[in-house]
């Protein structure tokens, strides 16, 4: 969709490079790197995602921020404020957990996604990618796809800690899985915002600061930690229009019971909007850049 696949079928030169000289005179049959195959964006994105995953496996430390931060918030809120907000920490844990699930995936998508793209762009290997027949978008998509592993690990850890503290899903397994999938999808589509910031700013410090601060007004300006009815008017107005509110309501509905269809629909809608707007803008800015 972002690159034109080669329409002409080329011959693959599997012979050693000595055959090259004989082919250089004519201009019909070209000895080329390989046959241009369909779906270059998908295949190259997956190949590059594989590369990022290998790198993550070798430096597992990069996963830590995404794992630890949500757990800290969960523990902090439950034990510091739980008694005051909900009367008991146990009841508050039930209220808070679905929102922290969304916080987890949003944070996982924001903090290091943009950062890894900026550091990658400055590496020598990017020059090689750029001199190869690789769709430009694949360089971004591959990086973002590989981050999916971080969402999954972060969500598993969060559920583990939540269960240890006493959280229980009040619906059923299918709904819990749907809540998780929805949160991951939402975090993924919102992560294109940080990709856009990364491509536009191209500075590690700026990008990590923005990526870290951005989730706060988005995730905390909702009914995550306390019902929006208790907030001052201006904050409540923000919570009402904030798209993350829908994601948190959907998560609450799926994990605890309550209205589901409306919030889920709105979450999917907003996710699609983020993906279309930020994704397109990021890829366009990126292709203009290189």
């Amino acid at each position: 969709m972002t690159s034109t696949p080669e329409s002409s079928v080329r011959t693959v030169s599997s012979a050693p490079s000595s055959s090259v000289s004989s082919a250089s005179g004519g201009d019909g049959d070209r000895a080329t790197a390989g046959t241009a195959r369909p779906w270059p964006l998908v295949r190259h994105s997956l190949a590059l995602a594989g590369r990022s995953l290998t790198k993550t496996r070798r430096n597992p430390g990069v996963l830590l921020d995404a794992l630890i931060l949500p757990v800290i918030f969960l523990v902090l809120f439950v034990y510091l404020f739980g008694g005051a907000v909900a009367g008991s920490t146990r009841e508050y844990l039930q209220y808070l957990f679905p929102g922290i699930l969304v916080l987890t995936t949003v944070l996982a998508g924001q903090v290091s996604t943009g950062l890894s793209i900026v550091t990658d762009m400055k590496k020598g290997v990017f020059d090689r990618f750029r001199s190869m027949p690789v769709p430009r978008a694949a360089l971004l998509v591959g990086s973002v796809l590989a981050d999916a592993i971080r969402y999954v690990i972060a969500v598993v850890v969060l559920f583990g800690v939540g269960y240890l503290l006493g959280f229980r899903v009040e619906t059923d397994l299918a709904s819990a899985l749907a809540a998780t999938a929805l949160a991951i999808g939402f975090g993924f589509s919102l992560s294109w915002l940080t990709v856009l910031v990364a491509v536009l700013l191209r500075d590690e410090t700026m990008v990590s600061t923005v990526g870290f601060l951005l989730p706060f007004p988005l995730v905390f300006g909702t009914g995550m930690a306390a019902p929006a009815e208790t907030m001052p008017g201006w904050l409540r107005a923000w919570a009402d229009v904030n798209p993350v509110s829908h994601a948190i309501e959907a998560s609450q509905g799926l994990l605890l019971g309550g209205p589901v269809a409306g919030p889920v629909g709105m979450t999917l809608l907003w996710g699609g909007v983020f993906l279309a707007v930020f994704g397109t803008a990021a890829i366009t800015a990126y292709r203009r850049l290189i």
């Binding site: 693959v12 250089s24 390989g34 001199s131």
Partner: protein, 323 residues
């Protein structure tokens, strides 16, 4: 015959700086073009434009008859690039790097693996194939880099200062490889700061300075333009310096310079060098250094332009040290 690549009137500006100011370059298929110039002359910019990584501001740039702007994707299937710094992923192993590049060139997985193994073997990296590139020595990384640019069996290869930072032995090794590639019919564009390197590898040399080509010739022609070679003799015993100067002076037929422990003298041809070796042996003057030196880039530039090569921090003459 259609040139393998052809650059005409190439201009590239970065803000107020003009990196390339009307450069012409061309090479016939299967030949090696050396692009010689100091740091900041515009060599890397030219390579980046040829490799479709930068857009030209003016001029035409064709690789294999294809325009680098409009036909960028097809150009990328024809070329291989090795940059000044390592263009491999340091977190991946040698094999993983080469297989990834093969996959990105649309090779089937098995073929990508087979080519990776062949290239690692050819560049003596089989033992290190399973290690992360970050653990490689400078020479190994350069070889992996060159291997990476050959995964697609390119017909045109761009090498941006491929031997910078390598010790002399490794440099010689890489030269052999580059010669082998050219013998196999690959067209090579090689940038370098060393006349010696361009002389050893190139069929033709373009000298560039301040974004312009100031000379274009064969190595022999260029050497004629910039002056001949110099012999350097360092006697083991500094006290024998006058004796050494006498021996060299008799061979070249005029008094020679002797200072700071070495005798230096311009020589008319390689033949004189052999005579000097024999005469020194005959006169029993043991030497620790005996070298035939081409003019350094600085000296060549001075001859060509009348001014020293600016911004050329490390462009100094190198000598082959005798054991």
């Amino acid at each position: 015959m259609r040139p393998a690549f052809q650059v005409e009137g190439l201009v590239k500006k970065f803000g107020a700086t003009t990196a390339l100011d009307g450069v012409d370059l061309r090479a016939q298929p299967g030949t090696v073009l050396g692009v010689l110039g100091p740091n900041g002359a515009g060599k890397t910019t030219a390579i980046r434009i040829l490799a479709t990584m930068l857009r030209p501001d003016a001029g035409t740039v064709e690789v294999d008859g294809l325009d680098v702007v409009h036909d960028a994707v097809r150009v990328r299937r024809t070329i291989g690039l090795t940059g000044q710094y390592a263009t491999v992923d340091e977190d991946l192993t040698g094999t993983e790097n080469l297989v990834l590049f093969g996959r990105l060139l649309d090779l089937p997985r098995a073929e990508a693996r087979a080519r990776a193994a062949r290239l690692l073997d050819r560049f003596g990296l089989t033992e290190a194939a399973g290690r992360r590139a970050a653990t490689y020595s400078g020479g190994m990384r350069r070889r992996l880099d060159l291997a990476a640019s050959l995964v697609g069996e390119p017909r045109i290869l761009f090498l941006d200062e491929p031997t910078t930072g390598l010790d002399p032995g490794k440099r010689e090794e890489l030269w052999q490889t580059i010669r082998g590639l050219a013998d196999d019919g690959t067209t090579v564009l090689l940038t370098t700061q060393y006349l010696e390197e361009a002389d050893a590898l190139a069929d033709e040399i373009s000298v560039i300075d301040h974004g312009r080509v100031i000379a274009h010739d064969t190595p022999a022609g260029l050497k004629q333009q910039v002056g001949g070679q110099t012999v350097v003799v360092r006697p083991r015993d500094p006290a024998r310096l006058p004796a050494a100067a006498g021996v060299v002076g008799r061979v070249v037929g005029r008094p020679v310079e002797a200072a700071r422990g070495v005798v230096t003298a311009p020589v008319p041809d390689e033949h004189a060098f052999t005579e000097i070796v024999r005469a020194l042996e005959h006169a029993d003057v043991p030497v620790t250094e005996l070298a035939l030196r081409l003019p350094s880039l600085d000296e060549a530039f001075f001859t060509l332009t009348g001014h020293p090569a600016e911004l050329s921090g490390s462009a100094s003459g190198r000598s082959r040290e005798e054991p």
